[in-house]
């Protein structure tokens, strides 16, 4: 079988085209595919739609992509207190932004992963989030209709990978990564360590190999908030 492992970060992102819709894992400084983000920025990608909980920590995490003007649209829940490059681009109108409640962001990605074409939820009813969305009362509760969020690629960070693409995560660095791995058409994982096939006990696999298409080993890179 063709190996999913590539030897360089640049090779890992080489075929991601301008204009792609890309999910980026990570939350609170943990679980960001920082090396892949750096490589993606380095290659000069343009006009991407970024789906991510937040919008970078100064130049760190997604920040570099905003600094360099490589993002056209963002779907996120909380840009974050240090997302200054995003805020500058947003103020200038270079970047548009759809704010989504965090759990609904997860759930809309999971819907894409699970072949769900839309779902009703009470979250967001009566708020700015509900604007333009179908509303109905179900079981006595006001609900709005939310749609799946699809992506061409997911860039994620995992702890261990075997050569087939089975993944584990460290502690709270798990966060959005397993959901994005499932939701995107093509998932690229940056990992701390590559282990032999069979080294991860089947019951402890968090992301099964079917969701992972490319793996690259990279030394951790972390940006303090």
């Amino acid at each position: 079988m063709k190996s999913k492992i590539v030897s360089s970060l640049d090779a890992a992102v080489a075929d991601i085209p301008d204009g792609a819709r890309i999910m980026f894992g990570g939350f609170g400084g943990a679980g960001f595919p920082n090396n892949l983000i750096q490589a993606l920025s380095r290659k000069g990608i343009k006009d991407i739609t970024a789906i991510s909980n937040n919008c970078g920590t100064r130049e760190g995490e997604l920040g570099i992509m905003f600094k360099n003007g490589q993002v056209r649209h963002v779907v996120c829940s909380f840009p974050g207190p240090h997302a200054n490059y995003f805020q500058e681009r947003f103020a200038k109108g270079d970047v548009t932004c759809e704010l989504v409640p965090q759990g609904i962001l997860c759930e809309r990605m999971r819907a894409a992963a699970a072949g769900i074409f839309g779902f009703f939820t009470a979250v967001g009813v009566g708020t700015e989030v509900a604007i333009g969305k179908e509303e109905r009362v179900i079981d006595g509760k006001r609900c709005i209709l939310e749609s799946p969020i699809h992506a061409d690629f997911a860039l994620i960070k995992a702890h261990k990978a075997d050569e087939l693409g089975n993944l584990t995560y460290r502690l709270a660095a798990r966060n959005f990564n397993p959901i994005m791995a499932k939701a995107a058409k093509f998932t690229i994982a940056e990992v701390d360590e590559i282990v032999p096939v069979g080294a991860i006990p089947p019951e402890n696999v968090i992301t099964p190999a079917i969701f992972v298409h490319r793996i690259v080993q990279a030394k951790g890179l972390r940006f303090q908030g």
Partner: protein, 224 residues
């Protein structure tokens, strides 16, 4: 006119901590709620939930002990208590939105007499704003406590007839703990349960836009 002394942020947290019950699964939001963990009654165990996928968060990590893969929703390195579990963010919010969390304590800009909460955006503020996990948590949790100052710095009431700030969730708040009072949201309206030491129900009502219902004598806020 010099105002009487109000409770400090720490005292608000201290009072709110008394609302937590043994064995409860609890999410604490930014601001005052985040101080609550330091004031838990000694005889109870509470399991703290973090929306990035932790149940059973312990105290903050001490210097040298930090693991930046183990942070809370405020990006602070934390620890785990025995019996903790780790899961992905969709399951973390399945817990909040699905009604599994016993209690959430959030900060607030405004709470209406029906229990509507506004806590994510100040009207006219610059920038994109940010929602985070508050809408899911406010909408789904069994019991929602809001901790906030009773009035803005300018003295404007934050407990109002109708929220003028962008809403977080409708009819979601159960209890409000402020630097002046403990107030319960009931089908009849807002019931003044306790007042801060030295304050009268009338003085609290004067600083509240919504009408407060009094049911007999209103005791002083317990602080331990």
């Amino acid at each position: 006119m010099t105002e009487k002394t109000r409770l400090t942020r720490e005292q608000i947290a201290q009072r709110a901590a008394l609302e937590l019950t043994d064995g409860a699964f609890v999410n604490l939001g930014w601001g005052i709620p985040n101080l609550i963990a330091d004031y838990l009654p000694k005889n109870i165990t509470v399991y703290f939930h973090s929306e990035n996928g932790i149940l059973g968060m312990g105290r903050r990590a001490k210097p040298g002990e930090e693991d930046y893969d183990l942070v809370d929703a405020m990006k602070v390195p934390v620890t785990l208590i025995p019996g903790a579990s780790i899961f992905h963010q969709a399951d973390a919010h399945l817990m909040s939105r699905g009604g599994h969390l016993d209690v959430a304590v959030l900060g607030g800009f405004q709470v209406s007499e029906k229990g509507d909460l506004a806590n994510w955006k100040i009207p006219g503020s610059k920038g994109s704003g940010g929602i985070g996990g508050a809408m899911d948590i406010a909408t789904g949790t069994k019991k929602l406590i809001v901790c906030m100052e009773h009035n803005t710095k300018e003295g404007t009431p934050k407990i109002v007839k109708q929220c003028s700030y962008p809403l977080t969730s409708l009819e979601c708040v159960n209890t409000i703990v402020t630097d002046l009072a403990v107030i319960d949201v009931t089908p009849e309206g807002l019931v003044l349960r306790e007042v801060a030491p030295g304050w009268t129900p009338e003085e609290v009502q004067q600083r509240t836009e919504a009408r407060l219902i009094l049911r007999g004598d209103v005791p002083q806020m317990k602080l331990a």
